[in-house]
Amino acid sequence: MHEVGIMESALAAIRQQAETHGATRVARIVLRIGTLSGVDVEALRFAYDALTPGTFAADAELEIESVPARAHCAQCDTDFGATGGFILTCPRCRAFSSDIRTGRELDIARLEFPALP
């Protein structure tokens, strides 16, 4: 369950962003999580629900955008969608790839703060 630690770190970063923007609350949090990030989205939501009550993020809506995995095959110079989990097999030449182009994302994409009074 490293998702709890990851969410704690994310909330600290979000709180700092809120301070930077003069907000005391956050209304919406949009995360961008790649399918090969090694982070379980359900566990992340569980951690979020456990960590946020009574905090600046108590009423915030959590949106998680999933980023599908794409990889590059060095042998036949092809980009391909990787649907088979962590084994990235080139659909053209069947070679295994380690060159992940998208899918490792673990980002805070966007935040929405209530309007200033």
């Binding site: 369950m1 490293h2 630690g5 990851i6 770190s9 994310a10 600290a12 970063a13 709180r15 700092q16 962003q17 301070e19 930077t20 923007h21 907000a23 005391t24 209304a27 919406r28 995360l31 090969l36 990030s37 090694g38 982070v39 600046f56 989990g85 962590f86 084994i87 097999t89 070679a95 295994f96 790839s97 380690s98 992940i100 673990l106 980002d107 805070i108 994409a109 966007r110 935040l111 929405e112 703060f113 209530p114 309007a115 200033l116």
Partner: protein, 269 residues
């Protein structure tokens, strides 16, 4: 509202560093660097023209704090001319035994240091203590992995003068350490013959991130009915980028290749 700032010296509850040999003397070195994110703010207008909500595209890593500290560690290690290796495996795959023998043999000619992480006890730190190798035990309390902040603090507790290789023995765990960059130059994942050939398929993220995979305890492979070629094939499917070395810390098989790898890494820094 109580809003603590993000600072370097902010230990996790239960987190301890215990320098066993070769503790640093004098002032600790401060690691510093910018803490900033590219921010573009946009104002969303509601129907009646009033600003209802401020939407900010932040695009910062979820693990921003860890990633920043990891980059600082990397710079710090590079500046000191040492190569840091992050050793990850299940508990009992043979990380400590391999390091004991490595310190006794390779470590005689090339100065090495060790940071070793466990939830509790300094057993491994004591096992690894050598007059010629600075060792610090990190006990994490309940935390299931080492993070870059722990490494930054622990590294400052050691005298790293002349050290060419810093081994970081992670908490025995094949899942969580995958997400935490420590600022290492190489990630080394150990798979022992007692674990089964399909471990790479069952725990792919950590193997995907490996620079080197060590297949350990190969001396007992036959007794266990462990098929080395199947394990190697599984590693290659998940981690085609990784170099694979098969070794036994007991018989010494494959250790020369491991030392060659370390020597080459030390020569690069």
């Amino acid at each position: 509202m109580n809003t603590p700032a993000l600072t370097l010296a902010e230990p996790t509850p239960g987190f301890r560093i215990n320098a066993l040999t070769g503790a640093a003397t004098g002032s600790s070195r401060a690691l510093s660097g910018p803490l900033s994110a590219e921010i573009t703010a946009a104002l969303h207008a509601s129907g009646n023209g009033e600003v209802a909500v401020r939407s900010v595209d932040v695009n910062i890593p979820l693990l921003e704090k860890n990633d920043i500290l990891a980059e600082r560690n990397r710079g710090y290690f590079l500046g000191r001319g040492l190569a840091a290796l992050n050793l990850v495996s299940s508990p009992g795959a043979g990380k400590t035994t391999l390091l004991e023998r490595t310190l006794d043999e390779f470590g005689r000619a090339t100065k090495c240091a060790v940071l070793v992480g466990d939830l509790e006890t300094d057993n491994d730190g004591r096992r690894l203590s050598r007059p010629h190798a600075p060792v610090a035990q990190i006990t994490t309390g309940t935390v299931c992995h080492l993070d870059a902040g722990m490494i930054a603090r622990a590294a400052q507790s050691l005298d790293l003068d002349g050290v060419k290789i810093l081994f970081i023995e992670n908490v025995g765990n094949l899942v969580c350490p995958a997400s935490f960059d420590l600022g290492e130059q190489a990630r080394v994942v150990l798979l022992s013959t007692t674990e089964g050939e399909d471990k790479p398929l069952k725990y792919p993220p950590i193997f995907k991130s490996a620079d080197l995979v060590l297949l350990t305890k190969v001396d007992v492979a036959d007794v266990l009915g462990f098929k080395r070629d199947v394990a190697v094939e599984n590693i290659r499917r998940i981690a085609p980028q990784a170099r694979i070395i098969q070794l036994s810390s007991r018989t010494g098989e494959g250790l020369a290749e491991w030392y060659d790898y370390l020597r080459a890494l030390a020569a690069q820094t």
